[in-house]
Amino acid sequence: MHFGLSEEQTMLQDMLRRCLEERLDLETLKRTAGQPCDPELWRALVELGVTGALIPEDYGGSGLGMLEAEVIAEAMGRSVAPVPYLGTAVLAPLAWQLAGTPEQRERHLGPIASGEHRYGVGLTEVAGAPRQFGKVTLEGDRAWGRCYFVLDASDASHFLLTANGDTLVVIERGAEGVSIELLNDVDRTRSFAVLGLERTPFETVGEPGRAAQAIDALLAAGRLMLAADTFGAAEVMLFRARDYSMERFQFDRPIGSFQGVKHLLANMVTDLEPCRSLIWYAAHVFDAEPAERVLHACHAKSLASEIGKFIARSSIEIHGGMGFTEELGLHLWYKRIEANRQLLGGPETVRHAAAVDQGWVQPLTATAT
């Protein structure tokens, strides 16, 4: 019996953390906020196998599983990496594999693994989040409409979108009638946009109207990855607060020696560690027991969001005034955690989805306008 990361997974974790930490010092992060992904960083990650992790070896990937994807997502969160990871390396590969035809997999997975194609993702329509606006309509071989909150938009060569709740379509960035309106998000390490479509050609992933199950899996995968990202960021915030509390002296003693701070840090880690176990388990069952996917991804997202918010706020608080400036850069982690909390469904929304999954209650009818 073994619960936790294998040696290989730990090696992957170390490699990635090192790669990201070396390239993403605070100055770089501040300088590149709101900018597209640094091509050199992207190349390095591709070489480490980040984009091919979930792609079978036959298509140029390394055929790993969701626990490895979790390890990568956690490392991204640790370094608040400005990288279009979620869409490109997780959701697009899963979409083509779960819903695509063999021919489509052949054609699309290779360029993902090689880092050539990069995906923005728009799942807002199915994420059950409040204020759902935007709707994509398909007529013949053209698409119309708008998709809100497309993640990783500025780096994308392709966009993966849902339509009618049961169809997945892919749009090329340069296609006819595509417009991208960038949003100003509190989190500047990733890009968010409203995508406009006007008589835009598209490719359906698999058959139209048959992707409902795949969409459920994508949503679960996305929520799980956001949980891991938040977890990674929260762990950093906790340990930076711990370190700071030992260095910072007030009243002739390290502030970490005051129980007010000490017990707060104890509460933070008491929340954090079981959450790590839950996220690992949720990643494990994603592959091992697909029937448990949705429940565990929802709970992982909910718990990570709640403890992440608590830890992020407390870490800033322990850092005092300096935590509130941009000097220490803590705000980047804080804001990433705040944004993750809301993406693909806030805590109440994902808990509601967990209740629906267990048959406790009916889903809220989505009305797109």
Binding site: T124, G128, A129, P130, R131, Q132, Y148, F149, E181, L183, N184, D185, V186, D187, F192, V194, F249, Q250, F251, D252, R253, P254, S257, F258, G260, V261, K309, R313, I316, E317, G320, G321, M322, G323, F324, T325, E326, E327, L330, H331, Y334, K335, E338, A339, R341, Q342, L343, G345, G346, P347, E348, T349, P363, L364, T365, A366, T367
Partner: protein, 416 residues
């Protein structure tokens, strides 16, 4: 209970209301946020002068220093606030010079200092910044290291200050410096008045997590100011500063923002939807709203209770110490709910397309000013527990090379 101000104030209210009727809000649209990022505009200065003339600003400042010279009357102040708010008129200037320095000078300044500084300050012509905090001295203000030495008839100041809001526009700085390095921590500090145009002062903006540069760092290298620019006696600066801090605590502990937050939340929950449901119809959002409404009402009436104590000259106990802690936690929870209800839209920021009418996310970030500034939450808890509940003071111990020892200089009395 009697929640009216009594008929004796009817005339005064009528007078204020009349003034408000004669001054339409539109006239004052150009008003910035003086004292934070820019100097007051000519329009604002003119408005301030008019307010002082009528006694609606600087009301209790003696006439000899340029004020209106009225007797202090809390209810009159309250009526002015209420009527201006109802009419949508801006109140008089509020900045650290007016709210902190002026009362301090009136209490411990010399007549010459009062004459020199109060008039231009209340008229908005002289802008002040506060030189208290240092990188190593936040909650533990008394451990500050910026020092001043007397050289003939001048102080020479060296050191560094931080969190100095409006330092980049200020004419003057009221600053705490260590003048007796041999004296115990609290006893070696003096309170000086430093012109900001002196050589050796370097002001650098400090960008906060909201993205704004409302604070500064101020570096001081051999800054020379006149010896007479000291308030109170040499070495008595800690006492003088505490007079001022008292006023700052009063400023930050404003429960009023909760009211407006709840109003905005109610509208938000009535407008926003999750799928086909109004957010207001989702019990979990609504229940959170109601909890916050209850706390907001409690804080509102609590403010009335404190006002009443103050009007009636009653002693205020622990109930007066808790307001800041209570109000900051409440504000954080209110803005958090709004962001949650907005879902992904709640992450939009600072005038993004598709953002909700109010920038809830920015309000949420702004809460940290209250959580951290003006005495952090944990410092507040110590004050409440020690002064309010009579619990023992913290032991004054030093942590040195991995060992604990008693602080040699500090009093280790635990009582209050």
């Amino acid at each position: 209970m009697d929640l009216s101000y009594g008929p004796e104030y009817d005339d005064f209210r009528a007078e204020v209301r009349e003034f408000c009727r004669n001054h339409r809000p539109a006239e004052h649209r150009s008003r910035g946020i003086p004292g934070v990022t820019e100097r007051p505009s000519p329009e604002v200065l003119a408005w301030q002068a008019k307010l002082i003339e009528h006694g609606y600003a600087a009301r209790t400042i003696p006439r000899e220093y340029g004020g209106y010279g009225a007797k202090p009357d809390i209810i009159e102040n309250r009526i002015i606030q209420e009527e201006f708010l109802a009419a949508g008129l801006p109140l008089g200037l509020s900045n650290q010079g007016i709210s902190m320095l002026v009362p301090t000078l009136l209490e411990v300044g010399t007549a010459e200092q009062c004459t020199t500084y109060i008039r231009p300050t209340i008229y908005g012509e002289m802008i002040w910044c506060q030189g208290y905090s240092e990188p190593g001295a936040g909650s533990d203000l008394a451990s500050l290291r910026t020092r001043a030495e007397l050289d003939g008839d001048e102080w020479i100041i060296n050191g560094q200050k931080i969190w100095t809001s409006s330092a980049h526009v200020a004419d003057m700085c009221f600053i705490l410096v260590r003048t007796e390095p041999e004296a115990p921590k609290h006893h070696g500090i003096s309170y000086l008045l430093m012109p900001m145009d002196r050589p050796g002062i370097d002001v650098r903006p400090l960008v906060t997590m909201t993205g704004d540069a409302t604070f500064n760092e101020v570096f001081l290298a051999d800054v020379r100011i006149p010896a007479k620019n000291i308030v109170g006696a040499r070495g008595q600066g800690w006492h003088v500063a505490n007079v001022t801090l008292k006023y700052e605590r009063g400023m930050l502990g404003n429960a009023g923002q909760g009211q407006s937050g709840i109003k905005g939340l109610v509208e938000l929950l009535q407008e926003e939807t999750a799928g086909s449901a109004r957010a207001m119809d989702l019990d979990h959002y609504r229940d959170r709203l109601l909890k916050l409404q209850g706390r907001t009402l409690a804080n509102k009436y609590h403010g009335m209770r404190l006002l009443s104590q103050s009007i009636n000259g009653e002693q205020t106990g622990v109930e007066g110490l808790i307001t800041k802690l209570s109000a900051t936690e409440l504000a954080y929870d209110i803005y958090s709910l709004a962001v949650d209800v907005l879902g992904e839209t709640g992450t939009l920021y600072d005038g993004s397309p598709y953002q909700a009418e109010r920038d809830w996310q920015k309000s949420l970030l702004g809460c940290f000013t209250g959580i951290i500034g003006g005495g952090s939450a944990n410092i507040q808890r110590n004050i409440i527990a020690e002064r309010g509940l009579g619990l023992p003071r913290e032991p004054r111990v030093r942590f040195d090379s991995g060992r604990w020892e008693l602080s040699p200089s500090a009093s280790n009395k635990g009582g209050n």
